[in-house]
């Protein structure tokens, strides 16, 4: 019988080694698959992992791609830590874009100093309010937040579609479903590094996203808000014993994750698009779920996980463009990468026993300890 037994203590060396081994195995598996499909294995891997980051400007673009993932996942971490399953960040992102877009389109003459804070607040408010629907339905009627938040995503994307094809359509857009362009004051600028200049499309939203992840870490690890969230997620009965209010925590974590998703929507449009259009997100709200779990629900690790997932996305695009690789193949490869990283996590936390005998790894890297004789 094969069993996974939780490790008592996990050595740091193991934690650091796990992702390296996972990525190495991904490369081997990927090479085999690419080879079997008739692609040159090393060339394909080059397109995935090296080509997207072979120039300085591409590093900037990598961060730009990771930016919405980092912002959304920083908020989702709170939800999932509290055992509340917000699957609708995509819809909350759309509502953030709608609310901030309303500010930008309705008051185009505001100065930057007023416009930016107003749009940021509007974006946060839009996502937060959209997330309040599953929150209130759950706390009032005990509905399932997974279903409600997911279905509201489709409502949100149909709603923005209607806005853009209807009341908010730019009459000068030759019938295309687009709003007017945002005024300059409503656009997020690119970061100019002293001596280097801009780095690809790297914009101030990326800086904000990284700061947000740091703040999220502090709130989760060091404050009573984070403590309540963790206690409610791990042991709800102990949370009530401590005197925490379960409904309040539910509303709070959905508010936090809705707010960050809304902020991501605002940033994405203001930094990269400059007007509202039917497709403002490439599934960032869903991909961020993977990012949050890849980061083991730790906001600091969310930054790294966001970059890894963004790299896989860009690498997939690159392989499709340069090698003509079908989208499904790039999807499979991304799947292998995530699978390996999550499997690595499992072997980081558990060791394997076969018929009660621990399987040891070469060089005792997995921290195996000799067990009692005869066990």
């Amino acid at each position: 019988m094969i069993a996974l037994i939780p490790r008592k203590d996990i050595p740091l060396s193991l934690t650091l080694l796990t992702p390296v081994v996972a990525i190495a195995l991904t490369l081997v598996m990927g090479a085999i698959i690419f080879g079997a499909l008739g692609y040159e294995p090393l060339g394909a891997l080059y397109q995935f992992f090296v080509a997207p980051v072979s120039h300085a400007y591409q590093i900037g673009d990598l961060f730009v791609k990771a930016c919405p993932l980092i912002i959304i996942a920083s908020g989702l971490v709170f939800c999932y830590r509290a055992n509340i399953w917000n699957i609708g960040a995509e819809g909350q992102l759309v509502f953030g874009a709608i609310f901030s877009g309303w500010v930008a389109l309705t008051f185009p003459d505001l100065s930057v100093g007023v416009m930016m804070p107003a749009m940021i607040l509007a974006g946060i408010l839009g996502g937060l309010l959209w997330a309040m629907i599953p929150a209130l339905l759950k706390t009032r009627f005990n509905t399932n937040e997974i279903l409600v938040s997911l279905m509201l995503t489709y409502v949100a994307s149909l709603f923005i579609d209607w806005l853009i094809r209807g009341p908010w359509r730019d009459p000068m857009a030759f019938g295309f479903p687009l709003t007017k362009n945002y005024a300059d004051a409503a656009l997020i600028g690119q970061v100019s590094f002293p001596g280097i200049g801009t780095l690809g499309q790297l914009h101030w939203g990326v800086v904000g996203g990284v700061i947000l992840a740091l703040v999220a870490w502090f709130v989760l690890a060091r404050t009573m808000i984070g403590f309540q969230v963790k206690v409610m997620g791990d042991a709800p009965r102990a949370g009530r014993f401590a005197g925490f209010n379960p409904s309040l925590v539910t509303v709070m974590v959905l508010a936090i994750s809705g707010a960050t998703a809304g902020l991501a929507g605002m940033v994405e449009v203001s930094a990269n698009i400059g007007q509202l259009q039917p497709n403002i997100s490439f599934g960032y709200g869903f991909t961020a779920i993977i990012v949050a779990f890849l980061a083991r629900l730790n906001p600091l690790a969310v930054i790294a996980a966001g970059l890894v997932v963004a790299l896989a996305e860009l690498g997939g695009d690159s392989a499709q463009i340069v090698l003509g690789m079908p989208k499904v193949v790039t999807g499979v490869f991304k799947g292998i990468l995530l699978f390996m990283l999550l499997a690595g996590e499992t072997f980081n936390r558990f060791h394997v026993e076969v018929n009660g005998v621990e399987i040891k790894w070469p060089g005792n890297l997995w921290g195996a300890k000799p067990r009692k004789a005869g066990a």
Binding site: R222, T223, D234, F241, G374, A375
Partner: protein
């Protein structure tokens, strides 16, 4: 290897017979923890054999292997002189092994006969089965009505349904896992009569318990487990309870004198006419409960599980605050609508029954667990930012003062043994020197050393002038620690009387719902 091999005092008649079941050198480990080590044991047809040991001594693991729920790592079983590998409960039942668990597996909404039918091979009609239940019920004096719905039965009656269900499968060996833990003394005596009749009919009974008096009253031999090792199989008729206790514990057992209530003590905390309706069908409603907890004494609340202990504890902690105004008071101040954090600020400490997931969060460190009941108190946080250093220091101080043995610096609660974690959650409250301590099942599942430590700590807190309310299902503990005793039965609480004027029989009657206690 086990220090003492199997014993000595098998009766001659038994030696001539062949054992029904034999275990030879059975070992079972879970990870690094060895639950049973080289246990050998035999039971004969018609014998009532006790498996004795403290909580965590490995009794359950051992019988689960006999019932096929677990497989031994080493060693083997011999059933009627043939080596067997018991692959699962169905195989065990086919062999003729029946087991009655501590927790019942009955469908509350079905009748007794329907519940029994579910467990038997198909093909028998309800009417035939009901007739069989009636005749067997008469034969053994079990008193089970096949047409009754299970949710209308008392716990003792439900247990008899479980026993009946085993019996209809015609077992040769019946395993009873701590059957008396849910019974009053009177119900236990009835159960023993039933078991003796089975024994006369040739059924062997393996009776698991840690209660010495009943083991001596019922069984002829006892196998004692200590930390997973068989420390001896003895004749129960030739041993005193104290000798058996010392075998179980491995050291001398101390006596504790019963407590004398201080005269004219002042009431600190009171519950006045508190009623609570059922919130689910299987909950117990609280019926006009009155408590007056006085400075300097421990008020013991005895009673069998499921008579409203959980509901009362929730109301006392403030997890439920649906009571009328002034139903809960501290120093005459109304706390009935105040939640747990506010009651802690007012000076009450709580230790609920369940350590894992209620009193403590297993996946969190001890410092986080000390924050759990300190967050509303001074010094734990500064405008929402946790004072981590203070909490780590507090956790370390609690561990030092309450002899909590730590596997590392600020470990996870889940890495502590049951007894150590219990000492921590008790210490966490007593360290604050609360004016009132409300504690449920203080020593449940704790080894006897830790249990004595916790009982002493409660008495010391009372001696400092605090009031302690202790809800406990362990009668021995109630008699040992309490100054005054009340009994909880079906959501109603009897008037508290001094422990000196009480006998186990009186309390037993109350636990079974007979007559209000006569104050004396």
């Amino acid at each position: 290897m086990s220090p003492a091999k199997k014993s000595t005092s098998d009766k001659k008649t038994k030696q001539q017979q062949n054992p029904l079941l034999m275990a030879d050198g059975v070992t079972k480990s879970f990870g690094d923890f060895t639950a049973n080590e080289d246990v050998s044991f035999s039971i004969y047809p018609g014998e009532i054999h006790a498996l004795l040991g403290e909580n965590g001594a490995g009794k359950s693991t051992f019988v689960k292997m006999i019932y096929g729920l677990l497989q031994p790592d080493k060693g083997e079983f011999t059933w009627q002189n043939e080596a067997v590998t018991i692959s699962g409960p169905q195989h065990a039942r086919d062999l003729g092994i029946g087991m009655v668990f501590q927790h019942f597996s009955l469908f509350q909404a079905l009748t007794v006969a329907e519940n029994i039918q579910l467990a038997l091979p198909k093909g028998e009609t309800i009417d035939d089965l009901s007739a069989r239940v009636r005749s067997m019920s008469e034969e053994y004096g079990i008193g089970v009505d096949p047409d009754a719905r299970v949710h209308n039965l008392s716990v003792g009656q439900q247990q008899r349904v479980e026993i009946m269900r085993c019996l209809l499968q015609d077992p040769k060996l019946l395993i009873m896992d701590e059957p008396t833990s849910v019974l009053t003394p009177q119900e236990s005596a009835q159960l023993f009569d039933v078991l003796r009749r089975f024994s006369k009919a040739g059924v062997a009974i393996l009776f698991i318990s840690h209660k010495l008096d009943e083991v001596r009253a019922l069984t002829s031999r006892a196998t004692v487990l200590r930390r997973g090792v068989n420390v001896g199989t003895v004749d129960t008729s030739t041993r005193t309870s104290r000798e058996l206790a010392e075998m179980m514990v491995g050291s001398k057992v101390q006596d504790v004198k019963s407590q004398k209530a201080p005269a004219n003590a002042q009431t600190l905390f009171s519950v006045n006419n508190l009623s609570r309706p059922k919130d689910t069908r299987f909950a117990t409603a609280l019926r006009a409960v009155n408590i007056d907890a006085r400075a300097g004494e421990v008020l013991g609340i005895a009673g069998i599980a499921g008579n409203g202990q959980d509901e009362l504890m929730e109301a006392l902690i403030g997890e439920w605050t649906g009571g009328a105004a002034n139903t809960i008071q501290l120093d005459g101040e109304d706390l009935s609508q105040v939640g747990p954090a506010g009651r802690r600020v007012a000076g009450i400490g709580f230790v609920p029954e369940e350590r894992n997931g209620h009193a403590a969060v297993p996946s969190m460190t001890l410092s986080d667990n000390s924050l759990l009941t300190a967050h509303s108190l001074e010094g734990a946080q500064n405008k929402g930012v946790i004072n981590g250093a203070a909490m780590r220091a507090r956790a370390a101080a609690i561990a030092a003062a309450f002899d909590v043995r730590l596997p590392g610096v600020n470990p996870l609660a889940s890495s502590l043994s049951g007894g150590n974690l219990q000492k921590f959650v008790v210490g966490r409250e007593i360290e604050k020197v609360p004016r009132v301590l409300i504690i449920s099942q203080p020593t449940w599942g704790v080894d006897i050393g830790a249990a004595m430590f916790i009982r002493k700590a409660m008495l010391e807190l009372a001696a400092k002038g605090s009031a302690v309310i202790m809800i406990s299902q362990d009668l021995e503990e109630v008699f040992m620690v309490s100054h005054r005793v009340s009994v909880l039965y079906d959501g109603g609480l009897s008037d508290a009387v001094p422990v000196k004027s009480l006998t186990a029989e009186k309390v037993g009657l109350l636990m079974g719902g007979s007559a209000q206690m006569e104050a004396s």
